[in-house]
């Protein structure tokens, strides 16, 4: 192992000088010394010791990524397609700034706090944590922190996410424009991201005079739903909460999918994963998408392009999300001021084949 001391001896300068050259403090070193040392550094293949750096400088050059072990993740299986992209993109963004990424999957904020302290991380990015956990993390780790896809009542934690509300709005508007009047929004919860998407749906539907249950998120109650539908014949919308857990969901589909496809014109899912799953399920029941019922998703994952019919969905740019999260974190680390606490990346509607134009059909019939 080559140490700074070794380089210094060979260059006949002091370790400090070598250190200065390494860190680009070129105004403290003469040009010729810089050259000589840099040559030696390369020749002798000097590799810094992170341990020593951490200890001496107090700076670890480590960015901790905390990924919440949310229940969904397990049940999604490989579903959380973008976790992979997100992590890869963040790593490359971190690495090109000469930092390192220490990744830990954990269910608890407490473990996260310990993790951050042990490594003396210089910054923290979290994904898949809830509002409370992120706030706790922020309070306890005295380092810059950016959360991804979290909503706060009082924005004390910086966040990078999507304009989820607009996403919901855009899709609902499109469904309404194409003549859908009985719309179901389906997600496995009614908080955070999914709640915002639902709010967007409500907004669009409100403009078209459809009644709705704002924030109706609750476990699916078929009887209740039927009753409500009866009160608003022909035009209604509903937020339906589907089970998180794979097997329960399969049961739910078996019991309800046919009826849902009859009672609604369009099923708008809060994620592509569920939408694709349901397209397959409907196919198995001989129900044709989009002829018999329209299906829409959210995220624009690869599966949306791969499935048939191709899924009409809302696109998000996952790599950009990663870039922005890392960029924002480093702005905090560099102590820049005036940094926005909440970035909401734009989304866009991607029209494919899983939603039919009911207007066209009505005209031609």
């Amino acid at each position: 192992m080559i140490r700074i001391k070794d380089i210094a001896r060979k260059a006949e300068v002091s370790p400090t000088t070598v250190s200065n050259v390494i860190h680009g403090n070129h105004k403290k070193v003469s040009e010729e010394t810089v050259e000589k040392v840099e040559k030696l550094l390369a020749e002798m293949e000097y590799i810094p010791s992170m341990g020593a750096r951490m200890l001496a400088g107090g700076s670890s050059r480590v960015i901790g990524i905390l990924a919440g072990e949310l229940d969904e993740w397990k049940h999604y299986g490989e579903g959380h397609a973008f976790t992979n992209i997100l992590i890869r993109s963040m790593e490359s963004e971190i690495y090109r700034r000469n930092y390192y990424m220490l990744l830990h999957f954990t269910a608890t904020a407490k473990e996260g706090i310990q993790f951050a302290a042990t490594w003396n991380v210089e910054g923290l990015i979290t994904l898949g944590f809830g509002t409370r956990d992120n706030e706790k993390l922020q309070r306890n780790c005295k380092v810059p922190m950016v959360s991804i896809d979290t909503y706060y009542e009082k924005q004390k934690v910086a966040n990078v996410g999507l304009d989820d509300l607009s996403g919901g709005y855009l899709m609902a508007e499109y469904l309404l424009e194409t003549g859908h009047r009985r719309i179901a929004f389906l997600s496995d919860n009614d908080i955070g991201v999914d709640h915002e998407r639902w709010k967007g749906v409500c907004l669009a539907c409100g403009q078209y005079g459809l009644t709705w249950q704002y924030g109706a998120g609750k476990d699916y109650d078929a009887a209740q739903e039927r009753k409500e539908a009866a009160e608003r014949p022909g035009e209604y919308m509903q937020h339906i909460i589907i089970p998180k857990e794979q097997e329960s969901r399969a049961t739910f589909y078996k019991q309800n999918l046919r009826r849902l496809s009859e009672e609604y014109d369009a099923l708008f899912f809060a994620s592509d994963y569920y939408a694709v799953e349901v397209i397959a399920g409907l196919n198995d029941m001989g129900i044709c998408v989009p002829k018999d019922v329209s299906v829409a998703g959210f995220d624009d994952t690869e599966s949306a392009r791969m499935c048939r019919p191709r899924l009409t969905t809302v696109h998000q740019d996952v790599e950009e999300k990663a870039r922005r999260a890392v960029k924002k974190l480093f702005e905090f680390i560099q102590g820049e001021g005036g940094i926005s606490m909440a970035d909401r990346l734009p989304v866009k509607l991607v029209v494919r084949d899983s939603v039919k134009n009911r207007r066209l059909i009505i005209q031609s019939e």
Copy 2:
């Protein structure tokens, strides 16, 4: 920040004693001291400094994961579905041994070597690297190392992978048993894993008397293929190399898919990703799977279950792969002897709906 020194002062013992308690050297410390110190450790919420540990002890408790930035990865998009699972599973296996996972995506062995040295990693797991790169890594990093899914001529590097050959064999055998006689094996390369799968196909076909071009991996030559097919009317097989790059592949499909579906009874892809992609493509051309042509995949990713028809494929247990890789690495770290250099996890055939039984049809017609 609470240091060992702080604990020592409060406990009225020396730092050495505290260190001994922390590391469970209980034979060097009296019972009552152990108790007193442990209580204080918990109370004061002592968190070790990794920097100091690395520097003093020379041991970092860091396991480096090097993920090769292979070209394919980019073109697969989200395709490498199991990378995510692999990484998550490895992290949890590493963490529960009180180690940490430092993840880096890189294209070059050189960068990997530097990465490992900088962090003084105690072990290295690589995935997505070629034979040469892994050998280079092993030579240059003087730490235990395990590669995933790599084949070697001389097994100098430990590896955890699949019994790919059996996978290829099992599927080919199944295709033959179900009456397929014109079989194409399609992959985007003919080295490593894919080559083994192809060898398995050859083995099975050989037993059924089909001629084949062993290791025929070469860029697809339509004219040549037609000529060869003419020489073996009714019964033949072929290894077809398809383009790695997404757009080229789309072009390739456009030009060849229809003909391939006519000239072959079955298209066996070396990965589910391509199989699912082609099922969608065939669907778009009005070609029906499995009625017009059978399609098979390899890996059993979630997309195989999601697509319609459901994909007949070869299953691998990705989480087990992760567990085994980490387990093997720690066996090396703990200096155990008699560790196998190459684990080949079993695979199994998963029969779904994308391969038809041509025997049954022949009988009934």
